[in-house]
Symmetry: C2
Subunit: 389 residues, 2 copies
C-alpha cells in the first residue's frame, strides 16, 4: 500500500569544505540580533566558534548566546534560551553543534513566544504551532540526528522523567544548514559510532513496516549500504574526507521524511530508547543499538519477507540452502557483527542502566510499532536481553 | 572526490490518490488571475480539466489559457504564453500535463517580463534570472522528466534547429506540484515506456562519472532497481496503482539535483538526444534509449569499474568466471534486454531520422561527458549504430 503524502523540504544545505563561505550571504536575509546556541565548548577547540563570531561581527550582528546545551537537551535549557530570545528580540537562532543543539534551538524557537506552557502544548499535546517563531539555522559538527534538515526536536523533561520527540512542520526546519565534513574529524570515536547507528536506526525504522515495495524501500537500502561501506573506512581513518562526507550526508537524508514517503513506519525502537535516555542519559545511538538487536529478533517473524530482503539486499546474505527464517536471522546477525566491529556499546548495564530501572522504562514507553504491537511485558523482555548483552 | 554542493528543493509535493484535494488551499496563496497551461487535450479526456476549472472557479479565480503545448515545446509557444501573461497580469501559471507543459510554463514565467530577448538571454547565454518571474505550479499527468520538482526547462527553437535545456534556480521551481498516479493510467504505452527510459537516463547520466563511491551513487542504484521492478509490473497492468505510484515518484526524484549531489556528471546522452529531438521531434525517452546503448558500449572501458558496479548492483550480473569487460558488457546487454522487453524503440530510422540528418546532428551536439570526451566523429559513429539498431 503506497500511502498519500505531502513532502516539503525547504532547508537550504551548503555542503563541503568551503560550506562556511556561504554564511555571510545567508545572514544578510535576517535581522541584526543573532543568538548563538552551542554545547560545552567543543566548537571552540576546533576553532569554529572564533570563525563564526568573526563572520557575525563582520556582518554587523549583535550576538547573544545560550551555551552548555547537553547531549539530551532539557526543558530547563529550552526555557533559559527562550528567555534570552524574548529579552533580546532575537532575529535568528544559529545553532552550532550536533543534533542536540539544533533540536534545542528549534524548541527555543517555538517556545519563546508561546503564551501557553510550551512543553505541554508542543511535546505533550502535539498542538500546531500558532505563535510567532524565530528562524533557526545551523552549522553542523556531528553526523547523526538529521536535525539540520528536518523538524525534529527531542527534549527531555527531567522533572517528569520524559524524553519526548516532536516533529515540527517545515516552517520550523532550519532555514539553512552548513555542513562541512571536516568539522567531524576530531569527534571522539564513541560519539562517531553512536551517530552511525543513529542514522542506520532512522532508516530501519522507516524500512521495517508494511509488506510494501516502494521506491523509498530501495532508497533506504542504498543509503544503508553507503553508511556500512563508509563507516568501515571512517572508523579506521577518521580524517578520510570521502567517507566522513558520505556519512554526514547519509545522516542528513536518513532522518528526512524523504526516506519514508508512501510508507507506514515503525519507530518502536526510538520510543524505547527515549525512555532509556530519560533514565540513563546514554548516548542515543548506543541506546538504539542495544534495543534494536533484541527487538528485531523479537518481531522478525511478523515481517519475515522484509527481514529476508534486509538480509540479502543490505548485507549480501546468500539465500541458497537456507529457510526464510535463517536468512532473516543471518541479516540481524550481520547487523550485530557490524555493530560490534564499530565498537558500539549494546549492553544496557554498560550504558548506565540498573536492573531496577527496566520495569519503569518499559512502563513509560510509548507504543508504536508496525509488524507487531508490543506490550509493556514484551518491552521488559527486550530490555532484559539488552541488559545482559 | 566528493564535490561541494548547495542543495535547495523548495517545491511542495502533494502525492497520491487524494492529492488534488490540496489545490484549493494552495491557490489561496496566490492572486486572482491564473493561467492554465496544457497540451493537446488529453487532460480533458481524463476529466481532469473540468475538475481543475471547477476548483479554480470555486476559489474565485479569473482563468486565462495557453493551450496546444507540444511534446517538444517551441520558443514560439513560449512567446505566445508570455504575451498572455503580460496582457492579463497573470498571478500564477498552473501547468497541467507532462514535463513539456511544465518546462514551457517555467520558460513563460522567466520570459514574460524580460526586457532582453529571453531565448538569447536564458537558453543561449545562460544569464541569471534578474527580471520579475511569475509563480509556476503543476498538476502532473505523465511520469518522466521530473520537471515538477526542479528548475529544468528544455525549449526548442525551430528556426535555429536547436533544442536547449536550461536549469533555473530554486525560485523558478514549481511552488507546488500535485501528483496523482491515477492520472497516468490512461497514457498510451508508447509514451509510458518513453517516460520510463527518460527517468532511467537521468539517473545514469548522474551515475556514470568519476571513480566515485558517494551516497548519491547508492541512491541512484536503489531508484534504478525500483524503476526496473515497477516498470515490469506497470507494463503488464497499467492500472496497478503501486507500480504507477513508484514510477511517478521515481521520475520526480530521478531528475532532481538530489541524485547527483557531490558528483561530477555526464549528460552527453541528453546532449545528443536534444539534437535528434530538434531534427525529428521523436519521443524524448526513445531518443535517449537509442543513443544510450551505443554510447555506453563506446565509453565503458573508460569507466570500467563503474560499469562493473552497474552490472552487479543494478542488474544482478554474477561476477564469477568473467573479466571486468565481460561483466560491464553484460550490464549494458541487460539494459538492452530490458529496453526491448518494455517495447522502447531504439532504432533512429524508426524514430524519424534520415541518414542525411546524422552528420548535422553530430556537428550541432554540445560536448559534455565524463569518462570520455567525444568528437563529432565519435558522435556520428554512435548515431550510425543507433540508425541501424
Amino acid at each position: 500500500m503506497n500511502l498519500d503524502f505531502t513532502y516539503h523540504n525547504p532547508t537550504i544545505i551548503h555542503f563541503g569544505k568551503e560550506a562556511l563561505s556561504n554564511l555571510k550571504a545567508e545572514l544578510a536575509n535576517y535581522g541584526d540580533t543573532v543568538m548563538l546556541a552551542y554545547g560545552k565548548g567543543s566548537i571552540k577547540k576546533i576553532g569554529l566558534y572564533e570563525q563564526v563570531v568573526s563572520i557575525l561581527k563582520e556582518c554587523g550582528k549583535n550576538i547573544v548566546e545560550v551555551t552548555g546545551i547537553m547531549a539530551n537537551p532539557t526543558w530547563e535549557k529550552v526555557k533559559e534560551g527562550a528567555k534570552i530570545v524574548k529579552d533580546n528580540n532575537v532575529d535568528l537562532i544559529l545553532a552550532v553543534g550536533g543534533g542536540s543543539v539544533i533540536d534545542c534551538a528549534k524548541a527555543i524557537s517555538v517556545s519563546a513566544y508561546s503564551e501557553e506552557d510550551a512543553w505541554t502544548k508542543y511535546w505533550l499535546q502535539f498542538k500546531p504551532v500558532d505563535n510567532k517563531i524565530v528562524p533557526v539555522a545551523s552549522i553542523l559538527t556531528l553526523a547523526g540526528t538529521g536535525s539540520e534538515m528536518n523538524g525534529g526536536s527531542v527534549i527531555t523533561n527531567d522533572d517528569m522523567k520524559l524524553k519526548m520527540g516532536r516533529v515540527f512542520p517545515p516552517n520550523v526546519y532550519p532555514k539553512f544548514s552548513i555542513l562541512n565534513p571536516e568539522y567531524t574529524f576530531s569527534l571522539p570515536k564513541y560519539q562517531m559510532v553512536s551517530g552511525i547507528f543513529d542514522m542506520m536506526s532512522h532508516l530501519m525504522e522507516a524500512y521495517f513496516s508494511g509488506e510494501d515495495d516502494t521506491t523509498s524501500d530501495y532508497i533506504v537500502e542504498g543509503v544503508l549500504r553507503s553508511i556500512i561501506h563508509s563507516a568501515k573506512i571512517a572508523i579506521k581513518n577518521p580524517e578520510d574526507y570521502e567517507s566522513r562526507s558520505n556519512l554526514m550526508w547519509s545522516a542528513t537524508l536518513a532522518m528526512n521524511p524523504l526516506m519514508g514517503l508512501s510508507k507506514p513506519q515503525d519507530w518502536q525502537v526510538h520510543m524505547i530508547e527515549h525512555q532509556i535516555g530519560a533514565y540513563t542519559d546514554c548516548a542515543h545511538g548506543m541506546g538504539l543499538a542495544a534495543v534494536s538487536l533484541p527487538y528485531y529478533r523479537f518481531i522478525y517473524k511478523n515481517g519475515l519477507d522484509k527481514f529476508v530482503r534486509f538480509a540479502t539486499q543490505v548485507w549480501g546474505i546468500e539465500e541458497e540452502g537456507k529457510t526464510k527464517e535463517e536468512i532473516a536471522l543471518a541479516g540481524i546477525d550481520a547487523l550485530e557483527t557490524f555493530v560490534k566491529e564499530c565498537g558500539i556499546v549494546i549492553n544496557l548495564k554498560e550504558l548506565g542502566a540498573t536492573e531496577e530501572m527496566l520495569p519503569a522504562i518499559a512502563e513509560s514507553t510509548v507504543i508504536l510499532g508496525a509488524y507487531k504491537k508490543l506490550t509493556s511485558d514484551d518491552i521488559l523482555e527486550i530490555l532484559k536481553v539488552a541488559y545482559t548483552a
